[in-house]
């Protein structure tokens, strides 16, 4: 089963801090990670949206993170071992018709794409993949912590959204961490509420949402705004051309 995500993790972390214990688990260290993983030390995540006018700081536990997104080749191995996730067998509740749309057959990704990020995968399939390896999808807090690095001063015009698809946090700049230019699934992608205009809650459709979903901490952070908007538009069964994923594990 998946491990606890955002809500309880947040509560427990806050309680732990209040009690003056454990900023990080004593045995959490880079040595806990495997060769193709990057160690992300404990840190703090500042959610893009304010809560009741307040900027929040959420402690994030240390994790071992896959250095890059899952490839076609890796996903092929997964569907071989778990036939229920093959494109001809997957149930419609768990993936829309475009699931693995670029695979001609159940076990035949295009040979030239084998080392490229697998996309056209649903949240359910991505989660099942990670779980089969004893890992899980990163939470939004974890993802933004390791991949929400500063926007470049000049954005390349040939890849207009690449800047929003992930940039290493400064302290991970010299690691093997890679962002191959796809959006990435998160465990709690369905937590962000974006409606109406950025930087204000005017114009929010109040019949749709309860709570203050649209007050940005930093309205100039366009990349973060794009990510939160994108996530809030997703459904768990979506399988999109530019949406892949990577897995994480608790560092222990």
């Amino acid at each position: 089963m998946r491990r606890p995500i955002a809500a309880p993790a947040l509560v427990l972390s806050v309680m732990a801090l209040a009690a003056g214990i454990g900023q990080a688990r004593p045995h959490a260290c880079a040595n806990a990670c495997r060769p193709h993983e990057v160690f992300v030390p404990a840190g703090v995540y500042t959610p893009f949206f304010k809560s009741g006018g307040e900027t929040r700081s959420v402690p994030v536990e240390p994790i071992c993170l896959s250095a890059t997104t899952v490839t076609h080749e890796e996903f092929l191995e997964f569907v071989r071992e778990h036939p229920a996730w093959q494109k001809s067998r997957i149930k419609k509740l768990f993936a829309e018709d475009s699931y693995l749309a670029d695979w001609p057959g159940d076990l035949t990704p295009s040979p030239e794409t084998l080392s490229q990020p697998v996309t056209f995968v649903s949240w359910f399939a991505a989660g099942a993949y990670c779980e089969s390896l004893g890992s899980r999808l990163p939470t939004v807090a974890e993802w933004e912590r390791f991949a929400g690095g500063n926007e470049p001063a000049n954005r390349p015009t040939n890849a207009p959204f690449a800047f929003a698809m992930g940039r290493s946090a400064p302290e991970l700049a010299n690691t093997a961490l890679q962002f191959p230019g796809v959006w990435e699934w998160t465990a709690n992608f369905n937590s962000a509420l974006v409606s109406g205009r950025i930087g204000t809650n005017e114009g929010a459709d109040t019949s749709q949402f309860c709570g203050d979903g649209v007050r940005a901490v930093d309205p100039s952070n366009y990349g973060a705004f794009l990510r939160y908007s994108f996530r809030s538009s997703l459904r768990g069964n979506f399988a999109l051309r530019n949406l892949g994923f990577r897995c994480v594990r608790e560092a222990r």
Partner: protein, 190 residues
């Protein structure tokens, strides 16, 4: 997530054992393929598949919500008490808490008493992961913004007898007619 995975095996098994009752196995689009375990406020365990046979009007709520949840639940209640004769007895009501941390069974029981919810209503509590998975299936977004408070969608969902989503809307409190229409359409389609 392996619950979702196991859920895929079940319909295959069911197809073998229930060949004469094809319509009662979870269909490919049925939410009842989720094999997560839930607990009712009365302490009984529940799998979603056991809800088969009745249509359900489903909302995700939490009991300390001060904004829209009470309005949604009150609207559902008004709706339940004023059902047109032709759909009376065809729909049940399902509330699932997004705050299992605070909404213990005792809290849910008190909520049932306070809101005067009768036996047509089920109140469910599950693990944080299972709530997140159900929400993903429904397209319901929520996030804890401070202890005990959530930002969340105001979505109500109509499930048909097999657990397929047949209607969803965000403004149920202001207009219940589309839900009645959805229920009638299901009946006429049978």
């Amino acid at each position: 997530m392996n619950r979702a995975f196991k859920g895929i095996a079940f319909p295959l098994l069911a197809a073998v054992t229930l060949t004469t009752q094809v319509s009662s196995e979870p269909s490919e689009r049925s939410v009842y393929q989720l094999v997560s375990k839930w607990i009712e406020d009365n302490g009984r365990g529940l799998r979603l598949a056991t809800l088969e046979g009745n249509m359900q009007l489903l909302a995700l709520i939490y009991t300390t919500c001060e904004g829209s949840c009470p309005i949604t639940v009150k609207s559902m209640q008004m709706f339940s008490r004023n059902l047109p004769a032709d759909i009376l007895g065809r729909i049940r009501f399902l509330l699932v808490t997004v705050d299992p941390e605070n909404d213990t069974l005792a809290v849910l029981r008190k909520y049932r008493r306070d809101m005067k919810l009768d036996r047509q209503w089920k109140l469910l509590r599950g693990s944080a992961d299972d709530v997140r998975e159900l929400a993903a299936v429904l397209g319901f977004n929520y996030e804890q913004i401070e202890s005990g408070q959530f930002a969340h969608s105001n979505l109500v969902t109509v499930l048909d007898e097999r657990g397929e989503i047949v209607h969803q809307q965000n403004d149920f409190a202001s207009d219940a007619k589309p839900v009645i229409e959805a229920i009638r359409n299901q009946q006429s389609g049978r």
